[in-house]
């Protein structure tokens, strides 16, 4: 940009110099003696074309300026103002000078001409003419005398007389000619010249018509001289057809004076004739100079306005770029003046802003990285984390918190604890706990029980106040874990331990009791009378029977407490259901059984004997429930269901019995919870334990549209052979998410 600007400047200066030179030469060309007179036309063309070029340049600049104004380019108004100021400042004085120059021009040229001078020149010319006329009349008289003298002389004698005639009359050259102009004889002062000076055809014609000629001629050889030609009236000569011409010299002084007068007169007459043309030409040159000055000024105004406004425009664009976030904008420094200093300061400012922005960017990136790292860590935590600020507004949370609390945690981030608990009322115990520790600055840990959609939840919740500065409390960090299953596991483990020990302790004395009762009967039954024998038999039988019952009970305890020893294999659930059902249909024939088993049910990987125990317990419960009901029905359904891309085998055993109250339903899978009078209360606990060992889920629910309870089991299907390895690893997860 800067280089092209310099080129434009130098080109403009060169053209300016050329135009100025052309105008000077034009001005000089108006003088007659000027060497540029011959170039006048070319100069006029050049200056006209130069002016046209300037007008074109100005027009292009003006059009560009208008476009910039329309596009609201920064600096346009300033450019317009500067150009207007430049133009106004230059036009006014130039116009004033022009008008005064015109006036002076008119006056100056008019002052060259004066009536008195003109009269004097006319008079001097007349005087010269009179002086020459007098001389010419004398010479005519003298030549006529010479013609008379030669009238009696024949052509043959004339060469001998003519020299004497010329010498006597002081003529320069005397020539005797016939009427056609043919030379008869001649005598000349100039001996070098052989050919005499002939009069022109016009003079000859004049002589032929009987006249005579006297005139001031300017010949090549003689310069200014008086030519006199007269006819020779000759009586003796035949045809009377001769004429004589005499050339008389004009004295050098008269010659010089008359030439001077004639030249001055012609010059003055020429000038007076050219007066208006001269004025017009000078006005033309003056106008060209005026137009050139004006156009050059306007163009210069454009050029310098652009040059001065360019850094301001650059700065405006730079400022806009900074506003748009580009802090690396650097503007070329135009010059070493104040504007240059301003631009340099602007560049320094942008540089510092860019550095500060980069530093801030780095810090932000670092913070974002740390935030991402923190989120990744929090996301991987199984514990729920909630961070509240001092106004109890949730600022940060992790995915586990949402899962544990059963709320869409992202949608509530940014809301206050109070609003969150208004939306999700099951979180009220948590709110109470957090608020109860509001004023404490110590860490706290507390167990909270929530009742949400997934039922009763026990959370171990701990809170820590956090602060950026040491003095001010900025909020709380709440960390919590769902320990429901942990507590349930502990409870189950305690029950298992208790059952194992109880079975061991009880089973030990039962066998001696049974053996003792049988021995007592065997030994004393036949020794007693019939009556006593019957009593003994009845009593010992009761002992043995009760001991057996107790053994069964203890064995059941043992089964519950025994660690799982599963031997899994691919099996068809439908086949197992049919086998187990066959046992019960023989015992209870009044219950109507409806079998809806899906054909081509996928195989499951399970321990057959333990699953048989599951179906045995569930079907026994179902038949027991239907025992006192007339028109009882039992529906067994098996099907393959697919949820979120995961496939399960679902078995539904639905009876038409009295159902289970909601109070008992919550604890129905816990040991010793039963609705039957004869039940041990361990059947469903064992069912749940076996199903969970197979990564499945089981639950009971009262039928919605009819009486009775439905037991629902979901077991993961066996994965295909090619991804067995993967299925072994993911079995547990698949089973849990269903």
């Amino acid at each position: 940009m800067r280089k092209s600007g310099t080129v434009i400047l130098y080109t403009g200066l060169f053209l300016f110099a050329c135009m100025l030179a052309a105008l000077l030469m034009m001005s000089d060309a108006l003088r007659d003696s000027s060497q540029f007179s011959r170039l006048y036309s070319g100069l006029l063309i050049f200056t006209t074309l130069g002016l046209c070029s300037l007008v074109t340049l100005i027009f292009l600049n003006l059009r560009h300026l208008i476009q910039q104004r329309r596009n609201q380019i920064p600096g346009t108004r300033m450019t317009v103002r500067m150009i207007a100021m430049f133009t106004a400042l230059s036009v006014t004085p130039v116009l004033v000078v022009y008008l005064f120059s015109l006036d002076f021009l008119h006056r100056g040229i008019d002052s060259w001409f004066d009536l008195r001078v003109e009269q004097a020149l006319d008079d001097s010319l007349k005087l010269s003419k009179l002086s020459l006329d007098t001389r010419m009349r004398e010479l005519l008289k003298q030549t006529n005398q010479m013609a008379k003298e030669t009238s009696g002389i024949s052509d043959a004698e004339m060469p001998f007389e003519i020299d004497e005639l010329r010498t006597r009359t002081n003529a320069k050259e005397v020539t005797l000619m016939n009427r056609q102009g043919g030379v008869i004889t001649s005598s000349s002062e100039n001996t070098e010249s052989v050919i005499p000076d002939r009069p022109s055809d016009t003079i000859l014609l004049q002589l032929q018509q009987g006249g005579s000629y006297t005139g001031l001629d300017n010949t090549i050889r003689s310069g200014l001289h008086i030519r006199v030609v007269v006819n020779v009236t000759d009586i003796n000569v035949v045809n009377n057809s001769r004429m004589i011409q005499a050339l008389y010299p004009v004295s050098e002084e008269i010659n010089t004076l008359t030439n001077s007068i004639q030249t001055s007169y012609i010059k003055y007459k020429e000038l007076s004739y050219l007066r208006e043309q001269l004025k017009l030409s000078f006005i033309l040159v003056l106008t060209l100079v005026l137009l050139f000055s004006l156009f050059a000024t306007v163009w210069t105004a454009f050029y310098f306005s652009k040059r001065h406004v360019a850094p301001i425009r650059d700065m405006a664009e730079g400022t806009r770029a900074i506003a748009d976030g580009d802090y690396h904008t650097q503007i070329p420094i135009p010059s070493n003046d104040e504007l240059g200093f301003l631009v340099a300061s602007f560049n320094e400012m942008t540089q510092k802003i860019a550095q500060a922005r980069d530093a801030a960017g780095h810090s932000q990136l670092k913070a974002e990285t740390q935030q991402a790292y923190l989120e990744a860590v929090l996301g991987r935590l199984s514990s729920g984390v909630l961070v509240f600020d001092k106004n109890k507004i949730l600022r940060t949370s992790n995915i586990s918190a949402g899962k544990i609390l059963g709320i869409p945690i992202n949608s509530v981030t940014g809301e206050s604890l109070e609003n969150i608990c208004l939306k999700y009322q099951h979180l009220e115990p948590m709110q109470k706990t957090i608020l109860s520790h509001d004023n404490t600055e110590q860490d706290w840990r507390e167990q909270i029980t929530l009742f949400g959609k997934s039922g009763r939840q026990i959370l171990m919740c701990s809170g820590t106040p956090h602060s950026i500065t040491q003095d001010e409390n900025e909020g709380y960090i709440i960390v919590f874990d769902d320990i429901t299953e942990l507590l349930q596991g502990q409870k189950n483990a305690a029950w298992s331990e208790m059952a194992r020990r109880l079975a061991h302790e009880i089973k030990n004395p039962l066998t001696p009791i049974q053996l003792a009762a049988e021995r007592l009967r065997h030994k004393y039954l036949h020794t007693m009378d019939q009556k006593d024998a019957d009593t003994l038999d009845r009593l010992t039988n009761t002992i043995v029977q009760q001991v057996e019952t107790m053994k069964d009970m203890v064995n059941t305890f043992s089964d519950y407490a025994r660690p799982p020893e599963t031997k899994t294999q691919a099996m068809d659930i439908n086949t197992l259901i049919k086998e187990v059902l066959d046992l019960f249909t023989n015992l209870d024939q009044k219950t109507e059984i409806e079998l809806n088993l899906e054909t081509h049910l996928p195989m499951v990987n399970a321990d057959v004997s333990r699953l048989r125990q599951v179906f045995n317990n569930l079907l026994k419960n179902a038949f027991d429930a239907c025992e006192e009901i007339t028109d009882s029905t039992l529906t067994i359904t098996s099907q393959c269901i697919s949820t979120a891309g995961t496939e399960y085998v679902e078995i539904l055993i639905s009876d038409s019995g009295p159902g289970i109250s909601e109070d008992i339903m919550e604890h129905i899978f816990e040991p010793y919870v039963t609705t039957k009078t004869k039940g041990t209360g361990l059947g469903l606990a064992i069912v749940k334990k076996i199903i969970e060992e197979h990564n499945g889920v089981v639950w009971l629910e009262n039928n919605k549209n009819k009486a009775g309870v439905s037991a629902i089991i979901r077991l993961p299907i066996m994965q295909k052979q090619d991804d067995n390895t993967h299925s072994n690893n993911t079995n547990g997860k698949t089973g849990m998410t269903s």
Binding site: S200, L216, N218
Partner: protein, 200 residues
């Protein structure tokens, strides 16, 4: 001695076009005036005669000067008359080829002291005085035996055309007068081209 007139003619055409455009209304008015007046030059007759091995020009030209030109002459301004002669080879498919171009220039001026008109042949430098303006014009219009073209310049099997015209040389006018001479018909004095076939 020949006058090379080409550049002057070119410049004159460009300048006339430029100034003519600027002063179109004035020019139009001047043209009307020209039509009304009867000034101008006419080539009455012209021929090339073979004189030995050279063709010489003989022509009869009539000069009718405008009032403005006559006024300028009376005020001592010399008028230069150019008689331009061309020989062209005729061509069927292309424009004619110029084989010779010659300009005979004469200067006409008035001498108030002797009240004579002086004609100077600018090619030879010869001067001729005339008391009568009419005689001066007759002399100037009578072109007799001006050597023009060598016989060797022509080929027997080709046809040639000769052209002649007379015009007032405005470039020889005083500089202040030229500006109006460029645009005024009073000064645009020129005859049309007079053409004839050169007999070989």
């Amino acid at each position: 001695m020949l006058n090379c007139k080409k550049p002057e003619t070119g410049t004159h055409i460009i300048l006339s076009a430029l100034v003519g455009l600027l002063l179109l209304p004035v020019s139009t008015h001047a043209e009307l005036h020209h039509l009304q007046s009867k000034h101008g030059f006419i080539v009455e007759s012209a021929e090339l005669n073979l004189d030995g091995s050279e063709y010489t020009l003989n022509a009869d030209i009539q000069f009718h000067f405008s009032k403005e030109a006559l006024k300028a002459l009376e005020h001592g301004i010399a008028l230069q008359i150019d008689i331009e002669v061309q020989a062209k080879q005729n061509r069927k498919w292309l424009w004619d080829k110029k084989i010779r171009n010659k300009v005979f220039s004469q200067r006409l001026e008035y001498q108030p002291l002797s009240e004579q008109y002086l004609i100077t042949d600018l090619n030879t430098g010869n001067k001729h005085h005339f008391r009568s303006f009419q005689y001066a014009l007759e002399f100037m219009g009578s072109i007799n035996d001006y050597p023009f073209l060598g016989l060797a310049a022509l080929q027997q099997d080709k046809k040639y055309t000769a052209l002649v015209r007379a015009s007032l040389n405005t470039e020889s006018l005083p500089t202040p007068l030229r500006l109006s001479a460029y645009v005024s018909s009073d000064w645009q004095l020129s005859s049309p081209w007079f053409k004839w076939t050169i007999k070989q």
